[in-house]
Symmetry: C2
Subunit: 402 residues, 2 copies
């Protein structure tokens, strides 16, 4: 079975039949009249599962989602930006639970069928009175995904949204994500919500989501800081009426491929919109001894501050790339290594090709800078994404709370 993927124009989580969403500016964020509270809702109960931060300090909403998932009876997710509800103790846990109760009452469902996610400053208590009023005023709409996507933004400059139709409408998948800061491969983005109408087995869905995270958000690094709130959730409402997708079937391969596509699209959007970023960096590692080495190598290069600043300055300082590969833990032999930037070769079997620096520098002025590293030792490959490091990253983060 072939996988045919069609991107839906202006697609988002509510491009998937049966999902509604809405958001309001409740006033949690101090700056500007931007939405900061949103609800995603499915009338049909969904099969839902999640992938969460590996940080030992977990925000209250993460702990609640981990307890409730996977599940065959999820109807909604309530989200807020402006406060992460992390390191907020028992009060934070009560507040997160209260958010699910308030959303459930509004939607006339069980609190246990509601998930919750937060993003923003760590250590600040949620303003529950504002949130309570905000939840009341949210209006759900069939095209409300765009507002929902905006409600989870913090320092993001654009919303990240996508939807695809797979194999001529066999099923659809939609997704929104937020990123920008505290982004590093140890789960992935801070928040990513996915919807699908596929009829799908819960165990397979859990497995597929983890695999998709591994090739997408777990390959993105903005600043090596892993958040307390990283959350990636998928809800499947089954309205596509397809034959149930279970593991080790042809449709399972199609679903995995399609889910990867959506997640990689969102992960690249997160990397491209990293705090202060002006360029997207794509690192392709080939010829590694094993997949773990390939992944570590690609991520280490994409995360290296020295590589990121060199890309910012269009500086073909390729030694920094090789040095990053060398400290990544991957096996690397200097005299076997090939390296190209922007398709122009700089290193062949460890020997520098010095005379094309100007050409490479020119190529690095592109919005997308592709680094190809071939270790020529084995067959494993991996791709990671990052962004350049700019003075704006520093100014954004030097005064984020104050």
């Amino acid at each position: 079975m072939k996988t045919i993927i069609d991107f839906i124009k202006k697609g988002t989580i509510t491009s998937v039949k049966g999902f509604k969403a809405g958001a309001v500016n409740a006033g949690i964020k101090k700056k500007g009249p931007k939405p900061d509270l949103g609800i995603l809702y499915s009338e049909t109960p969904c099969t839902a599962t999640g992938v969460f931060t590996k940080n030992k300090i977990k925000a209250a909403p993460v702990i609640i989602c981990q307890k409730r998932l996977p599940s065959d009876d999820i109807h909604s997710i309530i989200v807020n930006s402006g406060s992460a509800n992390a390191v907020t103790g028992r009060q934070g846990m009560q507040d997160a639970l209260e958010m699910t109760v308030l959303a459930a009452n509004k939607l006339e469902i069980k609190p246990s069928s509601t998930l919750v996610a937060s993003t923003g400053v760590i250590g600040r208590k949620l303003p529950m009175d504002i949130i309570s009023k905000g939840i009341d005023s949210i209006e759900l709409a069939e095209n409300g995904g765009h507002d929902f996507a905006k409600a989870i933004m913090t320092t993001d400059t654009v919303s990240k949204e996508v939807a695809i139709s797979v194999n001529n409408g066999l099923f659809t998948i939609g997704g929104v994500a937020k990123g920008s800061g505290m982004i590093h491969p140890n789960m992935g983005t801070m928040l990513c919500f996915l919807t699908t109408n596929a009829v799908i087995d819960m165990d397979f869905l859990t497995d597929a989501l983890r695999k998709a995270a591994d090739v997408s958000f777990n390959m993105v690094s903005i600043d090596t800081d892993t958040s307390t709130n990283d959350t990636m959730i998928i809800m499947a409402n089954g309205l596509a009426n397809n034959e149930r997708i279970t593991g080790n079937s042809k449709p399972a391969e199609v679903f995995q491929e399609a889910l990867n596509e959506v997640c990689i699209y969102l992960a690249k959007a997160v990397a491209a919109d990293g705090e202060g970023a002006s360029r997207l960096i794509e690192v392709n590692v080939k010829g590694a001894l094993d997949i773990e080495s390939a992944r570590n190598c690609a991520r280490t290069i994409a995360a290296s501050p020295l590589v990121k600043t060199a890309v910012h300055g269009c500086d073909p300082n390729w030694g920094r790339i090789v040095a990053a590969a060398g400290r990544s833990g991957a096996e690397i032999v200097e005299l076997k290594t090939d390296l190209s930037i922007g398709g122009i070769q700089l290193l062949e079997q460890g020997i520098a090709l010095d005379d094309n620096y100007d050409e490479v520098s020119k190529a690095m002025e592109s919005e997308l800078v592709v680094i190809d590293l071939n270790l020529n030792l084995g067959k494993a490959t991996a791709t990671a994404w990052g962004c350049d490091l700019t003075a704006e990253y520093v100014s954004i983060n030097a005064d984020y709370t104050t």
Copy 2:
């Protein structure tokens, strides 16, 4: 036996009796008439040992030093800045060997008694004609340590030099280091050279040097990038005529304590002079379950770009510190955690003390910002050092080669 440490005024590697040094501006560095080639020399053969980068891509001079050390017959070290002689293939290895031959001929010693170190841009071949002439013109002097310290600087803004006299002249230890960029705990600084006149056992010296690296340079992070050239070498010429220091003796404890002091002094100087840095960050972790956890936790906080930018902006955004601790791998329980910045408590048993933000922000304007994190789980402690992340770091690194 007590350890009495007296800092020698304007102390450096040649403050230790029997060591001479010298440096010239050979012209390897393109910018400015700064020294870029230096020699450290002891007429008496030295017991010498080293600690080197764990990066799998090792510069040619690192490979040569690793082959020659430890040894009881080392007389000199030849160093250059301006080119790292890394990822330079067979030619790079020949050039590094040639540097030891040229220095040895000048000094009338065996090439195998000479060590070599390089720092600068990766991937550029050494200009051997310039280096050859430069070596000829170096004049060694009993107070030449200062020039030597300058010759290893790259983007450093000040030289890092120190010498101490231990127990009223029982022995002395001197040291110089360079740091600035590509500095991350996986060995430590790019280059550090230590001298002592102590009579000392080679095995104990190797052990002591590794231990000193672990509490000093290995606890410093500027930018998480581990260099291809990290090198730390100690030469002991034995002129103090003390009773031979061997392991598990009282004088061994004194020597270890004194060596730690010198290395911590230099490591802090490296952190304070990190590329673009305006503040030194000291992170003290207490109450960890084990020493490895304490070390990882302290280093992860000191290395976090979000912590570093917050310190730059005098922003008491303590959530970033707790989040960094949470991803460090150390066991951490939110409701047991205490946190202070600049001696002012912000978190007590996981509960935020919100009303002193302005006071903390004021305290963070200091040149030294001390972060105290008590995990209250065990007895292990560790201290790490870093610097704030500034827009200047970005501009320095965006155009380093070009």
